[in-house]
């Protein structure tokens, strides 16, 4: 069986349920919320300084932090449901090499996460751009800045999806996988920062995503991109190890 066939099979698995559409609906809601905020929202002083410059507008459009979280949940649910619905049996019967099966599955889920990240950023940029004419400000974000926001969100989506898939594969329970992903992405990093006094919070996934988008400078963009990948690789590797000897029951 070729790896291409295996990957196509996994991509079809991701695309043939209603789950991607549910996540797309969430992205639309978030984009519309951003658009409404631009149209009618103000700062505390009643001004619209939060969209007054190109950098401000890019900050508003930088979707990558959301992409990590949303794609993380997407990956966690997609992977854990393989076990919840016993479809993992067919997966391992077709591909008895579990690392190979998991690599194909994670690649497909990463692709799904990347698409969600790209769409999330695209919809948000579109909503902001559509709302700006309702204000006194025009669209001032640079083309390069917008491109970086799109690229960072795509990358963050892929990384988040793999992170969630790793957690979902280890926990094998949809509710547990969702909770584990929320803990890993939202609850645990600030706790670690608090406990390790003096620790630089740059390694928190949300912060890394913002840095990768070019709208913050806690660390370099390259470092943020690599660190985001590390956040994905660690649980994915643990998942690969966990499936090696576990029975499918």
């Amino acid at each position: 069986m070729s790896s291409i066939n295996l990957l196509r099979s996994e991509l079809r698995k991701v695309a043939t349920t209603s789950m991607p559409w549910s996540f797309l609906a969430v992205l639309v809601v978030l984009a519309v919320t951003n658009g409404v905020a631009v149209a009618v929202g103000t700062d505390m002083d009643g001004s619209k300084s939060f969209i007054a410059t190109g950098a401000d507008q890019l900050s508003l459009m930088a979707f990558a932090a959301n992409a990590v979280m949303i794609a993380g949940l997407f990956g966690a649910i997609a992977a854990a449901r393989e076990y919840a619905h016993n479809t993992v049996i067919a997966t391992y019967l077709n591909t008895p090499s579990r690392p190979r099966a998991l690599a194909a599955q994670f690649t497909a889920i990463a692709a799904g996460g990347a698409v969600l990240g790209l769409l999330g950023a695209g919809l948000t940029i579109g909503a902001v751009a559509a709302s700006l004419p309702l204000t006194d400000y025009g669209f001032m974000a640079s083309f390069v800045g917008v491109a970086q926001v799109l690229a960072a969100s795509t990358w963050a989506g892929a990384a988040g999806a793999v992170l969630g898939a790793g957690i979902g594969t280890i926990i094998r329970n949809t509710g547990g996988a969702v909770a584990g992903t929320v803990v890993a992405l939202i609850i645990a990093p600030p706790l670690v920062v608090q406990l390790a006094s003096g620790a630089d919070p740059w390694f928190v996934p949300g912060t890394l995503a913002v840095v990768a988008s070019g709208v913050a400078d806690h660390t370099s963009t390259i470092s943020a991109v690599v660190a985001l990948a590390a956040w994905a690789i660690v649980p994915a590797s643990a998942a690969l190890l966990s499936v090696q000897r576990r029975d499918v029951v």
Partner: protein, 321 residues
């Protein structure tokens, strides 16, 4: 359910061999030193009470679970070492191994794509198991148990594999579906394919299978041709009952006349009785097997009694001797 009549060449005949397989969860032995063979060209029933280790044994055979000791091979190789495992072994294990929100057709297309089969083959497999195109377009969550079984079977048949391993495939099927399943499996065995099927429907199994493997508490209780294992006695009618009784008794048989005047013979098989009568020049008007039902055999092997603890394993050889 339809089937092709082409027979498999010898190189595609696969013997399933379990050799001293043991599986433990903690201190609990789920499968205990289990050995048996499943021959190609025959349908083998895999029987045992709930929790006897049937599904675990199948999962060990398919590399979905690991054995603590022993080996399980398909054509001399472990499942994972087969050149094309999914193309060699068609499997039905879980009755609900589907994403409920996915259509039946998409479920099969995912399986087909993974093993390099075409969308056209998906349609053929759906036709083989009698699932309509309209049903295949619907979400699996709307399927009855019988339709899910048919979909599972279609998945197992996608690559037209020479080996089928089916766990309770008749569950939920209507009488017509059971008959179609029986015809399908018999036809595949006739092509030289290997068919291992577990079921709780003992009356149905008796009509379906050539051989049986009975396990209880993870141990082998008996294995062999179902006709031999269920034959309890022979019924003989002859105009010379006294003379035949003496000859058969001399060969070690127990002979009792029944109320109709026939002799009920135990301890010799039909061939031995016929040969004895022929040698003695005794005319026979009837020589037939008096068979227990498979259910009787199953219950005798798997029902614990207060006086008899776990029965000692009975092998094919001991039953036939």
């Amino acid at each position: 359910m339809t089937q092709s009549s082409l027979s498999s060449p010898p190189q595609y005949r696969y013997q399933l061999v379990l050799n001293n397989v043991t599986k433990r969860y903690g201190d609990n032995s789920v499968v205990d030193n289990l050995s048996f063979t499943v021959e190609p060209g025959r349908v083998t029933g895999f029987l045992g009470p709930n929790g006897s280790g049937k599904s675990t044994t199948m999962k060990i055979l398919l590399d979905l679970a690991s054995a603590k000791h022993g080996t399980a091979t398909i054509g001399g190789r472990r499942y994972r070492d087969l050149p094309n495992p999914a193309g060699t072994v068609g499997v039905v294990l879980e009755p609900n191994a589907f994403h409920p929100g996915r259509s039946g057709r998409n479920h099969l297309r995912i399986l087909a794509q993974a093993v390099g089969q075409t969308a056209g083959r998906v349609d053929e497999a759906l036709a083989e198991v009698g699932l309509s195109s309209e049903a295949a377009r619907r979400r699996v969550s709307t399927y009855s148990l019988g339709m899910k079984q048919r979909l599972s079977l279609a998945g197992a048949l996608l690559a037209d594999p020479p080996v089928l391993v089916l766990d309770e495939p008749a569950n939920g099927l209507d009488p017509q579906g059971i008959r179609e399943l029986r015809d399908l499996l018999r036809a595949r065995a006739a092509r030289g394919h290997t068919v291992l099927v577990s079921s709780h429907l003992l009356a149905e199994v008796q009509h379906l299978v050539d051989d049986i493997v009975v396990i209880n508490q993870g141990r082998l209780m008996t294995t062999g041709p179902v006709a031999s294992l269920t034959q309890s006695a022979a019924v003989v009618r002859t105009p010379s009952p006294q003379q035949l009784t003496e000859h058969l008794a001399a060969k070690g048989a127990d002979v009792e006349p029944d109320e109709s005047g026939a002799l009920v013979v135990t301890g010799l098989d039909l061939e031995q009785i016929g040969d004895t009568a022929y040698t003695a020049g005794i005319t026979l008007h009837e020589l037939s097997a008096q068979a227990d039902s498979l259910e009787d055999l199953f219950m005798s092997l798997t029902t614990p009694t207060e006086t008899v603890p776990t029965p000692a394993p009975i092998t094919k050889e001991t039953v036939l001797s």
